[in-house]
Assembly symmetry: C2
Homo-oligomer: 360 residues x 2
């Protein structure tokens, strides 16, 4: 694989942390590096260290502030409203999630709606924090407006992911982490590079008509001509696109309406100003319901039932949410591959701070 470079996972983590440490506290740099690495090792490269350059630019330009803690605006035994004050999404969200988990130990559950934050990496990271404490986790975030409401040609909603995790016993926990658009923008880029037509449920042309031409759609997105990604289910209502739109709106609402933050096209709405990304996270203690022992054992039975269903012709395996990512995690624990382009960008970035990223 000549367009990929092999590195030690731990080296990449340290390198990322050291670079971030020039702008934010060591603790916040450690958290942010951990969230970025979690994406790469889980195989979600679009949300990994490839984003570091963008974070550093944001910190330099002052559109991301070197703040790693949210201000608590309101608190009840089971809920939090917090203001990220334009700071780094990862440490802000991580610390509030720790608070949610702590409160859920006493009060059975706690949910937080956070406004004025920034890109927080993969939604599933925070869900996993709850899973590691044997709790049920939830994590939602709004994001840059790239997606069309049903019957619209104007991208005013984000790819707004939903992540939900539930502990199991013999199986790894169920861990859903999905954008509410059919695909992320990165998928179009892959198809454009290969000059390959895409399915017509992914995106539309500038008139809002489903398109199979990824280059056209990307050109229109970059130049803000119109059109964009389609919600899960595709265009119109015939194949359920209004459902994906509805789910995307729910994510916006829990993240931004409940916290009185930015919504829809106002997220990243003013160039040079803080993005105002909003999140919704939470933890539910299993004792709120049938308790960990029963719930995790029920989960095992359920996962077994799903996996033992008869495969479709040509298939031989039924995947459960999170399974592919767990496999990547194991594979990439010690060493991992980086796209050559990403590796070179990181090296250039490192030079600026007198840091080197060794390859294997």
């Amino acid at each position: 694989m000549s367009d990929q470079v092999k590195i030690k996972t731990e080296n990449l983590r340290q390198f990322t942390k050291m670079i971030l440490g020039n702008f934010i506290s060591e603790q916040d740099a450690r958290i942010t590096a951990d969230v970025l690495l979690a994406a790469d090792v889980r195989g979600i490269e679009s949300h990994g260290v490839a984003r570091l350059q963008r974070y550093i630019s944001g910190l330099k330009q002052g559109v991301i502030l070197p703040i790693g803690e949210a201000k608590i605006i309101k608190e009840t035994p089971v809920s939090i409203v917090a203001d990220g004050q334009g700071g780094m999404g990862q440490p802000i969200t991580c610390k509030i999630m720790e608070k949610c988990i702590e409160k859920a130990r006493t009060h059975f559950m706690c949910f937080a709606s956070i406004r004025n934050s920034n890109h927080y990496g993969i939604a599933g990271y925070y869900t996993k924090m709850a899973l590691e404490e044997n709790m049920i986790g939830i994590s939602l975030t709004n994001s840059a407006p790239l997606v069309l409401p049903t019957f619209s040609s104007e991208a005013v909603i984000g790819t707004n992911p939903i992540s939900i995790g539930i502990p199991a016993q013999k199986h790894r926990p169920f861990l859903l982490d999905m954008a509410t658009s059919t695909v992320p923008r990165g998928k179009l880029e892959v198809y454009a590079r290969k000059n390959k037509p895409m399915p017509d449920s992914w995106a539309t042309d500038e008139k809002g008509i489903p398109s199979v031409d990824p280059s056209l759609v990307l050109h229109n997105m970059v130049h803000r001509i119109g059109g964009g990604l389609l919600p899960l289910g595709g265009g119109g209502e015939l194949t359920g696109g209004h459902k994906g739109f509805g789910l995307s709106a729910v994510v916006d609402i829990f993240s931004g309406v409940l916290s009185s933050g930015k919504l829809g096209k106002d997220v990243y709405g003013e160039k040079g100003k803080p993005a105002g990304v909003c999140h919704f996270i939470g933890a539910i203690h299993p004792d709120a319901f049938c308790g960990l022992k029963e719930i995790s054992s029920n989960m095992d039975d359920y996962i077994d039932m799903l996996k033992s269903s008869r495969p479709a012709e040509g298939e031989d395996y039924i995947y459960v949410a999170g399974e592919k990512e767990y496999r990547n995690e194991e594979k990439n624990a010690q060493e991992m591959w980086l796209q050559d382009k990403v590796f070179q960008n990181l090296r250039d970035l490192g030079k600026e701070f007198g840091l080197t990223l060794p390859s294997l």
Copy 2:
């Protein structure tokens, strides 16, 4: 419209309540009739009085028990686990939702996971109960296994709907109520009657290969040959079908895993035995977050933003979740149309109990 019959909505409600009153208490009959009518007036006919015959058969055969109240198995300030004891889904769920709303007044939120219940009608009914008290509502239920996991050819999960509602001020509340399959089975029946090919993201043949032949798929479903409905996003992963599958599993988990109830293909798993349907419902007080005034006003702004986005070519209106159903509700408040077949079935059912349903 010669295949439709016009009736007074109030007459249909009374008629439905009187028939049910032969089996369950007057209060429970009133609640059940109200939930069924809510479906019809909102235009979701598949979940309306057309189901009455099936409920009555179930009650006669003892697979639905004449019980209208769940047994509380566990309770915390913010959660309930309840056992429906094989009773009627509507009164059971309605009473537990009232309890959730009551508890949310004091403790900011309450969620209930209910096992051993039956079909509870439209998910959105219970969400709406929360909205009427100016709270945020959620309602999920598992259901008969008609849907395929991604890469499977065996229907082991339900159409498992998700309903979420959030209060607004000048606008009607946001009210999402969607199956997590691309379409419900009824949509295939409509296409089969018209001999029309269906989109290939709706269902598969017996081998799990997407099919455009609704008659074939329905035949296979009735005779349990294999195949079934596809999750939202369609077959495989290319168009996001694994996301619909993941969401459907989440509904099963919150309804049946948290309550230690029936899951997946075990729901309606034994003929002649109680179905064991499970639900998850809950209410969140706006004071848990930014309060009703801010939240409902934020919702107005958000809905305005979505609706004012530029329509796609050939379209002129952006719908928000629940909007079409509110319009139907207004239209059908006094008088409504019933399919002639449904009307005749109800008349036949009425004769059995000495009741008549007058048409206009």
